[in-house]
């Protein structure tokens, strides 16, 4: 039986310290307060002074409360019984199901040996042309959605979750509004995807320490399923809240802040989560899609900036649409040469013309005269925006490619598109 400590030396924010011996770094403890029992994790050892971050936060903790060390690090139950369930950031049921305690696995495990990785090779179909056609999502990719608050990023995530051809979806919610949590739950339920979904949700009302656990717990479970041969899609929303939770804890523990108050290890912390995305050569895979909200639409803010250096591209969500400029899937070249012969050509050609359309729009707004070519571009741009960029468009890649040719044919003569004649002969829609 483990010793119980009944004197808390200090309480700062959600971090408490007790004098104890024989405690290991990263160990869990239970803190019994008058509001119930909360878990806490050891995050600093100094002689016999043990600092713990209390999952339920520091509010209402008394110096006389009991602390009992559990002798093990943070773990989560693993098994098929997780499917269809909803948990909090500390792994407690959020639905009315039973607490799971068998087959516990540690979280935040070691990194994958780079030599055991393989070059990604399969696309993940989402039914969204701006992704499938222009910035293909690839199995084992890690991609954030950069957007400002108020954009429909959670709707986008939910749609991808519903449509992506994967075996299992793990949703990690951090600082989620309760409404958004219900939205995810309802959408997945209605779409019949709930049975292949596991949710770890920290809502904005929950204690901040639980927010820190969400990515690790989600990814630890994902990793086990991937090792059992499943293709897992992990959705994390919103990683900026995760970074802010880290900032909060770091500052209460008097760590020297580096950039805008964030701790100096922000990059390493984010990277150790995102790098969990992997394709195991003879087993399953983990693909990560994460939302990063950019305060003030500022991509140089430390969170999106560090994220951009870690992830394999990004989707910019702006004005309710995925922007073709600035969005990038670094891995698309690995797969889009093997889909359909016209994929790369349509991808480049349509974007070049769309870029010309944006220039024309600028000219138009400055009051310059519109030439016949400009008029064509204007028509093209409008069609492109409504039939390709609009998030409600839902067609498979091949349909999107055909649609691309239709739009081109509706606006231009074949030679104006700059596409190879060979492709034009094959794909240009024949006039009826």
């Amino acid at each position: 039986m483990k010793k119980v400590y009944s004197h808390i030396e200090s309480i700062k924010g959600s971090v408490i310290t007790v004098r104890a011996t024989g405690v290991t770094y990263g160990e869990l403890a239970e803190v019994k307060t008058r509001f119930g029992v909360s878990l806490a994790e050891v995050n600093r050892l100094d002689e016999d002074m043990v600092s713990l971050q209390v999952f339920a936060g520091g509010r209402g903790i008394s110096t006389g409360d009991e602390v009992r060390f559990l002798g093990n690090p943070m773990r989560v139950s693993f098994g098929d019984s997780l499917k269809g369930r909803i948990f909090t950031g500390s792994g407690e049921p959020r639905d009315n199901g039973p607490t799971l305690s068998e087959n516990l696995i540690p979280i935040g495990g070691p990194s994958v040996n780079p030599t055991k990785r393989i070059i990604p090779r399969e696309m993940v179909r989402t039914g969204i042309p701006m992704i499938d056609l222009f910035n293909t999502l690839v199995k084992s990719q890690k991609l954030p959605i950069f957007s400002i608050s108020g954009e429909p990023y959670n709707q986008l995530l939910a749609r991808i979750a519903m449509q992506a051809e994967v075996d299992l979806i793990i949703l990690g919610g951090m600082g989620l509004k309760y409404d958004d949590y219900l939205f995810f739950k309802d959408t997945l339920e209605e779409g019949g995807s709930l049975q292949k979904t596991i949710m770890f949700v920290h809502t904005a009302a929950d204690p901040v320490v639980e927010c820190l656990m969400v990515p690790d717990i989600s990814l630890a479970v994902a990793e086990r399923f991937a090792l059992k041969g499943l293709n897992v899609l992990v959705l994390l929303t919103d990683m900026t809240n995760f970074a802010d939770a880290m900032k909060e804890i770091a500052i209460t523990q008097e760590q020297v802040p580096s950039n805008r108050g964030y701790p100096g290890d922000l990059y390493s912390q984010l990277a150790s989560r995102y790098e969990k995305a992997v394709d195991f050569a003879d087993s399953g895979s983990i693909t990560i899609l994460a939302v990063t909200t950019m305060p003030g639409d500022d991509v140089t803010h430390p969170v999106p900036d560090n994220t951009g250096y870690i992830t394999e591209g990004q989707f910019y969500l702006k004005g309710g649409r995925i922007e073709p400029f600035g969005s990038l899937s670094r891995l698309k070249q690995q797969v889009n040469g093997r889909t359909r012969a016209d994929h790369r050509a349509i991808m480049d050609g349509m974007i070049k013309l769309f870029s010309a359309y944006r220039d024309t729009l600028e000219k138009k707004s400055m009051g310059f005269q519109m030439s016949a070519w400009d008029q064509k571009l204007l028509k093209y741009g409008e069609l492109f925006e409504s039939e390709m960029m609009d998030l409600s468009v839902n067609i498979p890649l091949e349909g999107a490619l055909d649609k691309g040719w239709e739009i081109l044919a509706a606006c231009f003569e074949p030679q104006e598109t700059g596409l190879q004649s060979k492709l034009i002969d094959q794909f240009w829609p024949k006039k009826a």
């Binding site: 024989g22 050892l45 780079p114 290890d265 140089t300 560090n306």
Partner: protein
């Protein structure tokens, strides 16, 4: 192991405090014993009987009172035949062998031998019994891939020795004795083909350091012609994310005109290393006809691997580079990215509660960066041959802003600056090296004044372009407009290069000279166009022809005829040639 005993007194992230009983030295390696595993760490501060160590592994599970063992040795790497073609982590653990032992994941506490012990090398002795030798003097040689690997007196053996015995030619493993050396007091030392050297000390067994003058050809036009790098020099590539730093490094690692390339993937994406790992064994080195992997060493400590080992990885890499330099070889070290290395220092500095400098980087950031880049250099060895280490480091500035401390500290010490710009990468102008911001202090393939003359068109062209944005094309004179077109032309056909095109990806110095000569002809010619549309249309055609030509293999019949057609196309239009241009063309004939 020394007799010093220690026990853990505190844990904060990857920093562990230890109470010691006995003597310890700064930067000594210590092992923390946790549940049967021994976690490697390095002493980074000594205060009375408490020392702080940075642990090269995850620290979960360590508790106060855990025993600590001290080695008495600084963090060191093994040097000897067998390094080439290897893939190491930041502490020189061979990753494929680690994978064979622990599977998919990097389990803490697994340290394997860097050099294979079971490989036999075919040894040819050079020194003879009775010879007087000093450290780094040649004892014998073994063939390693395409190179003759020199087996030298270990660099750690200071003083002079007499060769007492030396093994005859034959097959030996790295741990077998190849010679016995006797020092002045008569004590003898067994010498094998391998020895250890502390990574944070520069290897200094050469006669003198020389000035870097000979260009290191990268086969990337904008670098070789406009912003060259010299063998033994240093350069940095700062750029925001997505600007193509890593692609540029990969292209350089393939094409650079050096003997050995060491890639230090430091705190970056694992996926990028994987591409190199899988592709290099398939690619042929045009210089030796063997696989590129045989001239490459990869040190990879990717972003999710332990941070302290990331800090060590650049030193591990540069030490191996210096070792091969001692064999009279030209070595290129590519570090991607030095910002992640600096951030690792920042994390540790924060945990040590040092007073932070700018953006919380430690105050010693600049001196550490400077001393790292200073390990590059071209040297004359004691036997008169020359060897060099060239260092190219990428920098990932926060927010793409070059004013930040790591970029600034790096710019102070490097000889060339290849600044990548978001603006150019967004416009798909690759390599996205900004032609107006970048600079180089080294001499390149071409004479500096010719390059400066061509460069002036880029500058003036950009100025005209800026002006046109305000006053419109109508308000620009035809002469200015021509300068603008010429600048754009040079940018499109010469500065930009398609790294995915088999031919255009690597351009030989001869071809660069020929191509530059053709560009100079256009830049220096007068034209007589009736209006701007006509000028633009002609330049568009010219550009297309030039770009098509860039994709044709050098020296083939197709190339010769394309060249002749292009010349005819130009001849038809130009009138008069600037004197300066004529002189440049003449000098390149």
């Amino acid at each position: 192991m020394t007799n010093t005993k220690g026990a853990v007194t505190g844990v904060n992230g990857n920093m562990v405090s230890v109470r010691v009983d006995g003597t310890v030295s700064m930067n000594e390696v210590a092992y923390i014993v946790v549940g049967g595993k021994r976690l490697k760490s390095e002493i980074i501060r000594v205060q009375g009987d408490i020392v702080q160590t940075q642990v090269f592994e995850m620290t979960k599970g360590i508790k106060v009172g855990d025993p600590v063992e001290f080695t008495g040795e600084m963090l060191a790497v093994e040097l000897g035949p067998g390094l080439l073609g290897k893939i190491y982590d930041g502490l020189q653990n061979p990753l494929p062998e680690v994978a064979a032992q622990t599977g998919y994941f990097l389990e803490p506490g697994v340290y394997l031998e860097a050099l294979p012990r079971n490989v036999k090398w075919s040894w040819t002795p050079v020194a003879k019994a009775g010879d007087r030798v000093e450290r780094a003097d040649l004892l014998g040689t073994v063939p390693e891939g395409a190179f003759t690997h020199r087996v030298m007196v270990p660099f750690t053996m200071y003083g002079s020795y007499t060769v007492k015995s030396i093994k005859p030619a034959g097959e030996y493993a790295v741990t077998d004795e190849v010679a016995v050396l006797e020092d002045e007091s008569g004590a003898s030392t067994r010498v094998t083909m391998m020895f250890q050297w502390p990574v944070k000390r520069a290897i200094d067994c050469y006669a003198e350091r020389l000035k870097p003058v000979e260009p290191m050809v990268t086969k990337t036009r904008i670098i070789d012609t406009f912003f060259p790098v010299a063998k033994g020099g240093t350069y940095c590539i700062p750029g925001p994310f997505g600007a193509g730093k890593t692609v540029l490094q990969q292209v350089t690692s393939r094409n650079a005109d050096v003997d050995i390339v060491i890639i230090a993937a430091c705190g970056e994406r694992a996926g990028e290393v994987v591409e190199t790992l899988k592709e290099f064994p398939e690619l042929l080195d045009p210089r030796t006809g063997k696989s590129l992997m045989e001239r490459t060493i990869i040190v990879c400590n990717t972003s999710s691997m332990p941070v302290a080992a990331r800090e060590a990885s650049v030193y591990t890499a540069v030490t191996m580079a210096e070792y091969y330099r001692q064999m009279g070889l030209n070595v290129l070290l590519l570090a991607d990215s030095t910002s992640r290395w600096a951030q690792a220092m920042r994390e540790m500095s924060g945990r040590l509660e040092e007073i932070p400098g700018e953006e919380a980087f430690p105050a010693y950031l600049e001196s550490v960066i400077a001393s790292f880049y200073e390990r590059a250099g071209i040297v004359r060895l004691k036997d008169g041959s020359k060897g060099s280490v060239t260092i190219g480091g990428t920098v990932s500035p926060a927010g793409g802003n070059f004013e930040e401390p790591v970029t600034q500290a790096t710019l102070k010490v490097v000889g060339a600056f290849h600044g990548l710009s978001r603006e150019r990468s967004d416009a798909r102008k690759y390599p996205a090296i900004h032609p107006l911001d970048s600079w180089s202090k080294y001499g390149g393939l071409l004479d500096a004044s010719s390059v400066a003359w061509a460069h002036s068109f880029l500058k003036r062209g950009t100025e005209v372009g800026q002006m046109m944005k305000v006053v419109g094309e109508e308000g620009t004179s035809l002469d200015d407009f021509l300068v603008y077109l010429k600048g754009e032309f040079l940018d499109d056909v010469y500065l930009q290069q398609n790294s995915f095109d088999a031919v255009d990806a690597s351009v030989s110095p001869e071809r660069q000279k020929a191509s530059f000569r053709s560009c100079v002809r256009i830049l220096g010619s007068s034209f007589d166009f009736k209006d701007k549309d006509a000028a633009r249309a002609w330049f568009n055609q010219l550009r297309q022809r030039f770009l098509d030509g860039n994709g044709i293999e050098w020296g083939t019949d197709a190339y010769v005829s394309a060249e002749a057609e292009l010349k005819a196309f130009i001849d038809e239009r130009v009138s008069g040639l600037d004197k300066k241009a004529a002189r440049i063309i003449e000098s390149l004939e």
